[in-house]
Symmetry: C2
Subunit: 226 residues, 2 copies
């Protein structure tokens, strides 16, 4: 009797004191979202390969039994957690797109918003599950639709930009998608190259280049060179 394995006692805010009377739907909702959030936080902090169900349960403040009750497998939990995460991100994106319509927003500010959004851990998380997607068709099938929604959200932003800059919409789309790809590549590089000045320079330079690219050749069709 040296120690009683009373888990969930000292980890994060205890779930027990949430309220004595909770409806069933509330209970499931609370624990599943707690598991989702714990999953994504641990994915960011420790990595997908170190993401064990016990760690998730512990962080979420529930038992492993509860976890297995709500999710058939570790893989399913992770897939749904990512889905949940991406859905929330999409909403953030659409909210910004709506804000843009009301207020005047220049491209530099848009770049800043996207950079802040991506570099704040979001793309590190993406880098965790992207390799898994490459080798897991079912996960890929599950995430492709949400990803498409994300791209739609971006396109909504792009089209606003195209309107204001009198740039060919399709071309504007390409250029702004480049922005996203650039950011992805930059964030990926931060892992092996710790050099804040390097990234700051690149970001400021790109913000200067962007309006130039968007204004030039409003009518000139892209010559199909090779």
């Amino acid at each position: 009797m040296t120690k009683e394995p009373k888990d969930s006692a000292n980890i994060s805010p205890p779930r027990k004191s949430a309220g004595p009377k909770r409806t069933q739907a509330q209970r499931t909702e609370e624990t599943t979202t707690a598991l989702f959030e714990a999953t994504m936080e641990l994915m960011l902090s420790d990595g997908l390969s170190r993401l064990t169900t016990q760690a998730i349960a512990k962080k979420a403040g529930v038992s492993r039994g509860a976890l297995t009750h709500h999710f058939q497998s570790r893989e399913e939990l992770i897939a749904e957690a990512i889905h949940h995460h991406l859905t929330a991100l999409n909403e953030k994106l659409l909210a910004f797109a709506e804000t843009m319509q009301r207020n005047e927003t220049e491209v530099g500010a848009i770049a800043d918003f996207l950079w802040k959004m991506m570099s704040g851990g979001v793309f590190y998380v993406t880098l965790e599950y992207l390799p898994e997607v490459r080798h897991n068709e079912s996960l890929k099938a599950r995430l492709v639709p949400v990803t498409k929604e994300f791209h739609n959200g971006l396109e909504a932003i792009w089209s606003h930009v195209a309107e204001k800059t009198s740039c060919d919409p399709k071309q504007a789309s390409v250029i702004l998608n480049m922005t996203m790809c650039l950011f992805r590549g930059m964030i990926a590089q931060t892992i092996l190259r710790d050099d804040p000045d390097y990234y700051r320079d690149m970001l400021t330079q790109w913000k200067q280049i962007l309006p130039v690219l968007l204004q030039r050749e409003a009518g000139a069709p892209p010559s199909s060179s090779n």
Copy 2:
């Protein structure tokens, strides 16, 4: 895309009957490089998380005992395999840099070379071990120097470009590093967005933009906007 029917045509048989007279050093060299290559090939095809020592040994055509004889742990083998891989990549890069000095090479061709190099599986492999680097300080410490060499190889190319375009060297460096980041982000995106036209458009557009960016404002200092 990824075809290497070159040396790994036969998986298992060749080791024993390879040659009756091999010096000790040769034996170790052959098996270790066989293990390195098997490691990297499997990392690309199956992913780091599915990379087991038994699979590596099998693919390399040696026993697991041989593997553990030469490497203290799975982690060490993987670390050295990546190191080996990056060293080979650096040599390829430097060879290209030298070729550039002799022949006239325009930026479009440089972009094509880099894109081909990266998109031919190299960056997929990077995406496999990058998350691990994030959570494994010792691996990071081991790879940072080789990565730095890689950046040096790129800078060698960049400086040649700067000479020919009469562009501020530092600015040329930033723009060309953007190119690399752009490519990284594009390749990462291919995993969840299978849309060849999308990437082709982006690549051709960027090749058109590149000379414009490199020629403009040879002396204009970057104003601290925003």
